[in-house]
């Protein structure tokens, strides 16, 4: 008898909404396939984290930093409109360092009618534009090249990405490696004459890893 009452009081306790059980934690959300099997295997959810901020630290431009994203971006802008968003599939480029070249994008399968290029004039406008684009719910992905991105700004971008259900990708120099960031995924891409090296520095729900010659 006492045992019985014990379990019932335990159940009562567990019904309390203030009790949080580790078991009820949702597993990693299904990721967006990167198109590179080697990378997908290492990422939690089997792909890029949707609705979150991804940071890619690049040594220099031209080592495949865009090629890494192209298969995923192509799948986003040809995807059927989701139930939640109004007009999905736009890809915003905020403050790109050069001109994204349409013929090459088209060759990668990107729908050019869904491209939005934004060229803000200063650092604060870059973050503001990216935040607007992320939270609008219209952009499936927002690529940005911020001049600076401190902890607070990255947190804001992360929140905006969650709000708008959008994928944020920030490109930053290697020197940002030791700065704190709220990004769900941080990658480091570097190249040398021996080949290209992709390191997963931080991965929410995953673990650090180093990959070679992904792109």
């Amino acid at each position: 008898m006492p045992r019985n009452s014990d379990t019932s009081s335990l159940e009562k306790l567990l019904e309390n909404p203030r009790v949080w059980r580790a078991r009820s934690q949702p597993g990693p959300a299904e990721g967006l396939s990167s198109g590179y099997a080697q990378l997908d295997r290492m990422l939690p959810g089997g792909g890029w984290p949707r609705q979150a901020l991804t940071e890619i630290l690049v040594e220099q431009y031209g080592i495949g930093e865009l090629q890494l994203l192209m298969p995923a971006l192509a799948s986003l802008c040809t995807e059927e409109p989701g139930a939640e968003s109004v007009e999905p599939g736009w890809i915003a480029w905020v403050a790109p360092p050069f001109q994204p070249y349409p013929p090459a994008l088209q060759k990668c399968g990107i729908n050019l009618a869904r491209m939005l290029i934004v060229r803000p004039r200063n650092a604060s406008e870059v973050l503001w534009s990216a935040e607007q684009a992320l939270s609008s719910g219209t952009c499936a992905a927002v690529l940005l090249w911020p001049h600076v991105l401190d902890d607070q700004a990255s947190r804001r971008l992360q929140l905006a990405a969650e709000k708008g259900g959008s994928w944020a990708i920030a490109f930053r120099p290697l020197s940002a490696r030791h700065e704190p960031s709220a990004a769900a995924l941080r990658l480091e891409l570097s190249a040398s004459h021996r080949g290209k090296r992709l390191a997963i520095l931080k991965s929410r729900g995953g673990s650090p890893a180093v990959l070679h010659d992904v792109v």
């Binding site: 040594e59 220099q60 431009y61 031209g62 080592i63 495949g64 930093e65 865009l66 090629q67 192209m70 139930a83 939640e84 968003s85 109004v86 007009e87 736009w90 790109p96 360092p97 050069f98 001109q99 994204p100 070249y101 349409p102 013929p103 090459a104 994008l105 088209q106 060759k107 990668c108 050019l112 009618a113 491209m115 939005l116 290029i117 934004v118 060229r119 803000p120 004039r121 406008e125 503001w128 534009s129 607007q132 684009a133 939270s135 609008s136 719910g137 219209t138 952009c139 709000k163 708008g164 570097s190 190249a191 040398s192 004459h193 080949g195 290209k196």
Partner: protein, 525 residues
């Protein structure tokens, strides 16, 4: 001897017909109407001089100059209760009620108010007519079905007028003049049959007819005080003594003669001013006023089912030149909230040289606004309210960082790399660009440099972070003789010592120098 009706059968002039309505249901009911079946709804505003001063002031009297002397023309209810009467001198009125506000009559303001009201009344009929300084006429025979019958329509108009603070006298009759006279006579008349007009007008005093006082006086001297008396007079004698015009008016009122009217057309573009009593530099207050103007603009467009893509705010100063602030959107809209948000973004950066004395809002060319269907949340997920469309996002971005900084891209079928793409205007209404398909299979970099960058060379080999290693090439791209931007280049794909994929070319045009120069044109991102 009684006055004989004119021989001619009642004919309604063609001009009198309400303009064809585009809405299907309207024309459906308007077409089978017999010519006689017209119904005029008259809105007579006896207190317009007072009401045009705006609501709010309880102790208000409007004064007017009559023969060089100011006299009270109209007084508010509260002032009348205190003994202020029309015809009093302003001093006498002030002595009776010291808190009285005296306002000079402004005919222009009354006219503006009347036109605003005419615009508002256009929702009830496609044919509204400004028939006098204080009279509006609506042709409602075609509107009865839509508004649920005569009583319901009358009630809706009466309620709307009351809500806007107008005390109106309403009358309905088959001819415009009969309706006007009945309304001026404060008869709550509602006559549908043309045969009943005579009976209704018979007892109407002549003072309702808006005839000159001299005519009324001489008629009164003959013992003729109402319309019925007039109609009993011999026609020829009446016309000779009081003018053919009066006789024709009587015939028109009874429906014996046609009485064509001109329909009032509301202006297609919105323009409204807000004048301040003193100069203002408080930006929050200015924004609030702009918001009010935007609300009026929304109402204006709503009654026409229109939207606009452009707005122009003008801020007037006492001395300096007026500051203008144009606003533009990616698609036509009328919602005040939407425009206000754009305005706020732009207003933040607006420099006003001086305090502002007046604000004007002018709407742009209007276009029909298509309705959109809402969505039922059957799948259990409510649609997210805070989401907005691409065009709204582009507008927001452009409002802060400038139109030229937000654009789309397009591929162009041109073999010259720098002409193989173009920017796409996201704000052009319904930009339908055929997206060119690029020949597949050729290697192109994802990044293009805005201008080819000259590379230094070592013994004829191009350098970029060291000596380049060629991977593929050359791909020869030549000519463009048709537009003087011809090229003659050999493109190569190369890899820098630090692993970056580069797209370089050698200029084959050797006219300007001996050695062909190397350029960096793209980066394989």
């Amino acid at each position: 001897m009684t006055m004989r009706p004119a021989r001619r059968p009642p004919v309604i002039a063609r001009d009198n017909a309400p303009p064809p309505d585009t809405s299907a249901q309207h024309s459906q009911y308007a077409l089978p109407l017999a010519k006689e079946e017209r119904l005029w709804f008259c809105v007579y505003l006896p207190n317009l001089p007072l009401e045009a001063c705006g609501p709010g002031d309880k102790d208000l009297a409007v004064i007017e100059e009559q023969q060089g002397v100011h006299r009270v023309l109209l007084a508010s209810d509260h002032a009348r209760a205190a003994g202020v009467l029309p015809g009093q001198s302003p001093n006498a009125a002030l002595a009776l009620l010291p808190t009285l506000t005296l306002e000079e009559r402004s005919v222009i303001r009354e006219q503006q108010v009347l036109e605003l009201l005419a615009t508002w009344l256009e929702q009830f009929s496609s044919f509204v007519c400004v028939a006098g300084p204080d009279v509006l006429l609506l042709e409602i025979a075609g509107s009865l079905r839509l508004f649920g019958g005569l009583k319901s329509l009358r009630r809706q108009v009466a309620r709307g007028l009351e809500a806007q603070g107008f005390g109106a006298s309403l009358a309905i009759a088959p001819t415009p003049l009969a309706a006007t006279w009945l309304a001026r006579g404060r008869r709550r008349a509602c006559i549908r049959e043309p045969a009943n007009v005579m009976a209704a007008l018979r007892n109407l005093p002549l003072s309702c007819l808006d005839w000159p006082p001299t005519v009324l006086e001489s008629l009164a001297g003959m013992g003729i005080t109402d319309v019925g008396d007039c109609l009993r007079l011999p026609r020829e004698g009446f016309a000779r003594r009081f003018g053919v015009k009066r006789l024709l008016q009587l015939d028109r009122a009874l429906g014996h003669l046609p009485d064509p009217r001109n329909s009032w057309r509301a202006p297609e573009r919105f323009c409204a001013d807000f004048e301040m009593t003193e100069e203002q530099s408080d930006r929050e207050l200015l924004l609030t006023i702009c918001h009010e103007l935007l609300h009026a603009h929304e109402q204006f467009l709503l009654s026409r089912q229109l939207g606009t893509q452009r707005l122009l705010f003008t801020f007037f100063h006492l001395k300096a030149k007026a500051t203008s602030l144009p606003l533009g959107g990616a698609r036509a809209d009328r919602a005040a909230g939407h425009w206000y948000e754009l305005l706020r973004l732009r207003f933040e950066k607006l420099v006003l040289p001086e305090p502002v004395i007046a604000i004007r809002l002018r709407g742009g060319t209007t276009q029909a606004l298509n309705g959109t269907s809402g969505r039922l949340a059957f799948d259990g997920r409510a649609p997210r309210e805070h989401y907005y469309s691409m065009s709204q996002l582009a507008e927001r971005l452009a409002a802060r960082i400038g139109n030229e900084s937000v654009h789309g891209v397009n591929a162009v079928a041109d073999h010259r790399p720098q002409y193989a793409w173009s920017t796409r205007d996201l704000f052009a209404a319904r930009a339908v660009d055929a997206l060119a398909r690029v020949r597949q299979g050729i290697e192109r970099p994802l990044w293009l440099l805005p201008e080819p960058e000259l590379l230094s060379t070592d013994n004829g080999y191009p350098l970029h972070q060291g000596k380049l290693r060629f991977v593929s090439g050359p791909e020869r791209l030549e000519t463009g003789w048709w537009d003087e931007h011809g090229i003659a280049r050999d493109y190569y794909t190369a890899i820098s010592p630090r692993g970056a994929g580069l797209w370089v070319f050698r200029n084959r045009d050797r006219h300007h120098g001996g050695e062909a120069a190397w350029y960096l044109h793209g980066i394989f991102g």
